[in-house]
């Protein structure tokens, strides 16, 4: 039976998603898996931007942070329902991406990386400094999510919820890759001039995928806020932006499965490294360099190249 790469990705993810709760013994492990799903959601969105459009966002944690703080601040300051607050966060992120992306993406080259770098840090600075509004560096509480009278709680519940959201996110991302928009993106990634010649509006196409990537990140942020019931400005800091980019690159740019694998590695590794607490940063930096030098195309495409041709196709 021939399985398309798209179905293969979905089936593989579904199998792992369903099997993990039976393999993971403690609720701590389930919590880590939940964190993986959440980070993976942001990485899958960022992968659309990096893998398809060939653009980088070095401030994606800013959008993540907007989503996370939306579910904290919406209910407290505006009296909004958490779900409605999350939606507001998504819209805000999308609009911000639109506002910044529109002039920047007209330019050729990696200007988006520079602009998002600035944008991400500005979001972090606001979250860190507006103590009266956001609680400042100490962070702030997030009210519990209540869906139609059902108080959402427990590690296992959140495991299923975040995994299901990721599943939908992955499915949408895979569909997007094979849509006219996805093909246009791949065309302009290969050659912008050629893409323009065949009638693709290069700036607009990039802008659309940038906004989509920002919304993915904001949704992931909202999930993290609701799951942890606590947010700190750290979710929006520069290091988190770098971690998101690294997830995509380590897993393999352009591979949705790769984004999930990258997210898993970068989320589980620090948990495993807490034993060597003092060495955590050094090891992270060392790993990033090693991966970039020796496995440049990323884990998933790298492994796929090793498999016999037939098995991948």
């Amino acid at each position: 039976m021939r399985v398309s790469p798209r179905s293969a990705t979905l089936l593989l993810f579904l199998a792992v998603f369903a099997a993990l709760p039976f393999l993971l013994a403690s609720s701590f492990h389930l919590r880590v898996a939940t964190l993986v799903w959440i980070q993976a959601l942001a990485a899958v969105g960022l992968n659309l931007l990096m893998g398809l459009a060939g653009q980088v966002s070095l401030g994606h944690a800013g959008f993540f942070g907007i989503g996370a703080y939306a579910v904290a601040l919406g209910p407290r300051h505006l009296g909004l329902d958490p779900l409605l607050s999350a939606l507001a966060g998504l819209i805000l992120s999308g609009l911000l991406a639109l506002l910044v992306g529109r002039p920047i993406l007209r330019l050729r080259g990696h200007y988006l990386a520079v602009a998002t770098l600035g944008l991400g840090i500005l979001v972090w600075l606001v979250l860190n400094s507006e103590v009266a509004l956001t609680g400042g560096p100490d962070g702030t509480q997030v009210p519990r999510l209540v869906l139609f009278g059902w108080r959402v709680a427990g590690a296992e519940t959140w495991y299923w919820i975040t995994g299901a959201v990721l599943l939908v996110g992955v499915w949408l991302a895979l569909n997007l890759e094979d849509s006219p928009l996805g093909r246009a993106l791949r065309a302009l990634h290969d050659s912008e001039v050629a893409a323009r010649v065949i009638g693709i509006d290069v700036a607009r196409t990039k802008l659309v995928v940038f906004v989509i990537a920002a919304i993915y990140a904001a949704l992931a942020g909202s999930l993290l806020g609701l799951f942890n019931r606590f947010v700190t400005p750290q979710v929006a800091d520069f290091l988190h932006s770098i971690e998101l980019v690294t997830m995509v690159v380590i897993g393999g740019m352009g591979s949705t499965l790769g984004a999930i694998v990258g997210a898993a590695i970068l989320t589980v590794l620090p948990q495993a490294l807490t034993v060597f607490h003092d060495y955590e940063h050094a090891v992270l930096g060392f790993m990033i360099i090693l991966f970039m030098i020796f496995l440049r195309q990323g884990i998933v495409p790298g492994l796929a190249a090793l498999l016999p041709r037939r098995a991948v196709a």
């Binding site: 990096m50 980088v56 910044v100 002039p103 920047i104 330019l107 050729r108 080259g109 990696h110 200007y111 990386a113 520079v114 602009a115 770098l117 600035g118 944008l119 840090i121 500005l122 600075l125 400094s129 001039v193 520069f238 290091l239 770098i242 980019v245 690294t246 690159v249 740019m253 003092d278 060495y279 955590e280 940063h281 050094a282 090891v283 992270l284 930096g285 060392f286 790993m287 990033i288 360099i289 970039m292 030098i293 440049r296």
Partner: protein, 290 residues
């Protein structure tokens, strides 16, 4: 009036440091197209190594020399162990490598040193000098003078020496430079070494004023990068101008608007430059051939 002058003094002092970081960026960018986000770590190493060597009883000038040597070695190692093996990789990969390197350097520094803030005594006393109603620290004069000497020395090196001309030729066209017999690998290593030295000197000069810790590198790298963007990336004169302008803007914003958002200035500047003037103050308009 004297308040304004006060802000100008402090702005120029910080700006001189940004200018040196931006200059380091520019050197490496011109020689290799790599945007080196580990640039701030050189500044951190400059300050931290001097602090710890001085505390261990080494006289200050020797400690500073040692710090420069460590930063140069780090720059060369960064080139040899991380950039060189990844030759031919795309821009994003190289950026991530330098970010990885900066995390690694900071992580190692955290193990070797500690997480506290440190300083060592100013070079010529702590008593402020009064100028037209504003006061200026003697160390600020050291920073400004030191930066001026470094910029002048670099300019002389680039314009008057054969090796400097080789660096400029490599920046202009790597393939053509290799064709006329320039060892471009050597030029690249040189760029990383000199960048390390410039960064370390900036760190040594400014530590008595701003203090230092292992975490100062990230923000300095980002601001130095903003300064380079503002001046037009790849243009050394632009880098120095961009650094000074950024320092001034920051000091004025901190003085007249809000000190909380002092750090935001650099990033507002980045975004504004991209919106209005993507090639920077002194950059050339890039024309791409198809």
């Amino acid at each position: 009036m004297d308040q304004l002058l006060q802000f100008v003094f402090s702005g120029l002092t910080v700006g001189a440091v940004y200018a040196l970081v931006a200059l380091g960026f520019t050197l490496i960018y011109n020689a290799s197209d790599v945007i080196n986000f580990a640039q701030g770590e050189f500044v951190m190493l400059g300050g931290m190594v001097t602090v710890f060597a001085h505390a261990a009883g080494v006289p200050l000038p020797l400690a500073a020399l040692l710090a420069v040597a460590v930063a140069v070695a780090t720059g060369l190692a960064l080139h040899r162990l991380a950039i060189e093996p990844a030759r031919g990789a795309n821009a994003v990969t190289l950026i991530i490598i330098t970010i990885g390197a900066s995390i690694l350097i900071r992580g190692l520094a955290q193990i070797v040193f500690d997480k506290q803030f440190h300083r060592f005594p100013s070079f010529s006393g702590e008593d402020p000098i009064s100028v037209l109603g504003a006061s200026i620290l003697p160390q600020s004069l050291w920073v400004l003078g030191g930066a001026a000497v470094i910029v002048a020395a670099l300019w002389l090196f680039m314009e008057r020496t054969l090796l400097g001309k080789a660096v400029r030729a490599t920046a202009a066209n790597r393939l053509a430079a290799r064709l006329v017999g320039i060892d471009t690998a050597l030029v690249l290593a040189l760029a990383f070494g000199v960048s390390g030295a410039i960064g370390a000197l900036a760190g040594i000069l400014v530590t008595p004023i701003t203090l230092t810790s292992v975490t100062v590198g990230t923000l300095l790298a980002l601001k130095g990068f903003a300064a380079a963007m503002l001046g037009g990336i790849g243009n050394p004169v632009g880098a120095v101008a961009g650094g000074l302008v950024l320092g001034l803007l920051e000091a004025l914003a901190a003085g007249f608007i809000s000190s909380t958002y002092k750090d935001a200035v650099a990033f507002v500047v980045i975004i504004t430059v991209l919106f209005v003037l993507p090639q920077g103050l002194l950059g050339k308009r890039a024309v791409e051939r198809v």
